[in-house]
């Protein structure tokens, strides 16, 4: 394969509190090829969202990129200027958010908010942009798009608003779409429709997707490859199928074991949900050695002392665990 669309190399994101740097995200590396769908899973606070923010250069103090490189189409994002970065955002890299309720300007008709993307990034006139906005609404399967375009966000349901967000995000035909928990705030039936929409549109347009979620089922459905994050580290990165069939890292195994498999599990008389003991440590108090070791069921002695390096797996992919090291 030629050069990947996005390459993240040894990314470290620092959280600076009182002059002390804490590595909120450390040594995270992954690549996303053109048109590929890559999933990033992990518990709340494990660094998924700040990684996404770093990709579009929008970390704000106290967060900052401490080390590593992010290459988009071969360009190091740290090297390009603020203006070029701004032009990149929305046009080449776009994003949809967790909260469609708050992500739209309440005082502007949704059609206009879509149209603004064409004006902003494509230099279209407003008349032309409004026309393309209606087409964009139609493409995200909003019924009666010419009428809906004149609606304000409060007149739309959550699912409709998320469709509008997708229309905005995909308006300029980006190469990469960051989807940060795009369906968390929606109910289940709508979730499925929105995911299908993202999948269809990205496939049709060759848009690569970075799907961020804590929902393993969603990631399994959507993504070809998966990265599992824990406490700011990428602990496992493999083909989605392999991850779910044969998790290599104890944390991944724990996540999968904790999935509620209603029918099957109840039949085997195991109604109680499995859990991973303990909680994610806070950024200021990451344990020494492997960051997962205090909660790990398969802990070895060296886990508490030495930080495991990434190991390539025979079946493909990488894992960061002494059991494979």
């Amino acid at each position: 394969m030629s050069e990947p669309l996005l390459a993240v190399e040894n990314l470290r994101i620092d959280l600076t509190i009182g002059g002390v740097h804490h590595a909120a995200v450390k040594d995270v590396s992954f690549t996303i090829g053109r048109g590929e769908t890559f999933g990033l899973v992990g518990e709340s606070g494990c660094g998924k969202s700040v990684t996404a923010l770093a990709l579009i250069g929008l970390l704000r103090p106290p967060l900052s990129v401490g080390a590593g490189a992010i290459r988009f189409k071969g360009h190091d994002l740290a090297q390009i200027g603020a203006d070029d970065m701004r032009r990149l955002r929305g046009a080449s890299v776009s994003m949809i958010f967790q909260e469609p309720m708050t992500a739209l300007n309440p005082l502007s008709p949704v059609g206009r908010q879509i149209a603004e993307m064409f004006v902003l990034h494509k230099g279209a006139t407003w008349v032309e942009a409004e026309k393309r906005a209606v087409e964009a609404l139609a493409s995200v399967r909003v019924p009666a798009p010419d009428r809906r375009a004149k609606d304000y966000p409060h007149q739309l349901s959550g699912g409709m608003r998320q469709r509008v967000m997708i229309a905005i995000a995909l308006a300029c035909g980006p190469d990469l779409l960051l989807a940060d928990e795009p369906t968390t705030a929606l109910d289940v039936t709508v979730q499925a429709e929105i995911l299908e929409l993202i999948r269809d549109l990205s496939a049709a347009r060759g848009t690569a997707v970075l799907m961020i979620s804590h929902d393993l089922g969603l990631i399994a459905n959507m993504c070809a490859r998966v990265g599992v994050m824990y406490a700011g580290r990428l602990v496992e990165e493999r083909e989605a199928e392999d991850v779910f069939r044969d998790p290599a890292h104890p944390y991944t195994a724990g996540l999968i074991a904790s999935l509620p498999l209603l029918g099957a599990r109840a039949r085997h008389g195991r109604a109680r949900l499995q859990e991973i003991e303990g909680v994610v440590p806070s950024v200021t108090a990451f344990p020494a050695g492997c960051r997962f070791n205090p909660r790990c069921a398969e802990r070895l002695e060296r886990c508490a002392a030495d930080d495991p390096a990434e190991t390539a797996l025979a079946a493909g992919g990488r894992v960061r665990c002494w059991r494979h090291g």
């Binding site: 929305g90 776009s94 994003m95 739209l104 300007n105």
Partner: protein, 273 residues
């Protein structure tokens, strides 16, 4: 929608004053400056002189009508200048923060510490009296409340989802401020601006009364009051009618401002009811 007395009464009063000023050439009986006739000096209100005549025999009714033009011009334009300055400083300070915020906040606090009328007096003393100087003096001295309000509203808005989203989608800072933040903070700013207009009309009257605003013989309500103060016992109508005009205008603007607040400010009680 429920009937809002303050909005409608205030609006009606203000509209009346605007109409009076705009239609002055047609409504006035005489030329406000030239038609002096000492034979008519201090004539009481009657059929010929509706509001009476002043010390130089000029028709007070006509002068009050023309006076509306000056009061409204100064009130509206100076408040417009204040609002533009206040919003520009406050919104940029709130949005960018950092040293710029410190500078603007310091400046705002300084402006709040100086009595604005005294500051305007000082500016007028340096510039020569006249309409332009009045606009400058009143337009530069009363933006601190607007500035504080815009800054505070911007601070609370800038971390909201859609402002963040706009940043992520590649909007520039200026575009975010103009399209995402400004429309959402406009309500309270209109309210403050309207209330401030009443203050500016009063300030213009005060400066003109002190002889630093519009100079006689041109009719401004403040300078008319100033001229009339010696005759207040002998010919009270000379001061009563310009005073009444100021009262009606400021009352109208204040009621209008209150009414707008009830509609536009989500925190006001009237809306919660």
């Amino acid at each position: 929608m429920k009937f809002r007395a303050n909005l409608w009464i205030g609006g009606a009063l203000f509209a009346t004053v605007v109409a009076a000023g705009a239609l002055a050439p047609w409504l006035a009986h005489t030329d406000p400056v030239m038609d002096a006739n000492l034979m008519n000096a201090e004539l009481p209100p009657g059929a010929e002189f509706w509001f009476g005549a002043d010390g130089q025999g000029r028709d007070i009714y006509s002068r009050v009508l023309y006076g509306a033009r000056i009061s409204l011009t100064v009130g509206v334009l100076s408040q417009l200048i204040n609002t533009v300055i206040g919003v520009a400083l406050g919104m940029s300070a709130g949005y960018w923060g950092g040293w710029w915020d410190d500078v603007v906040s310091g400046l705002t606090n300084m402006m709040l510490a100086i009595p604005s009328l005294v500051f305007a007096l000082a500016i007028m003393a340096i510039l020569s009296p006249g309409l332009t100087s009045l606009l400058i003096a009143l337009g530069l001295t009363n933006w601190s409340y607007t500035c504080r309000l815009s800054r505070a509203s911007t601070l609370s808005l800038k971390n909201l989802g859609y402002v963040q989203a706009a940043r992520i989608l590649g909007y520039g800072d200026l575009r975010i401020m103009l399209t995402q933040i400004l429309p959402n903070i406009l309500g309270p700013i209109i309210v403050i601006g309207t209330l401030g207009m009443g203050g500016a009309v009063l300030a213009e009257a005060a400066l003109s009364f002190l002889g630093l605003g519009i100079r006689p013989p041109f009719p401004s309500w403040g300078s008319m009051l100033s001229d009339a103060r010696d005759q207040i016992t002998t010919a009270p109508w000379v001061s009563v009618f310009p005073g009444l005009a100021i009262f009606v205008t400021v009352l109208g603007l204040n009621l209008l401002g209150d009414g707008l607040r009830d509609i536009l400010d989500p925190q006001s009680e009237a809306r919660a009811r």
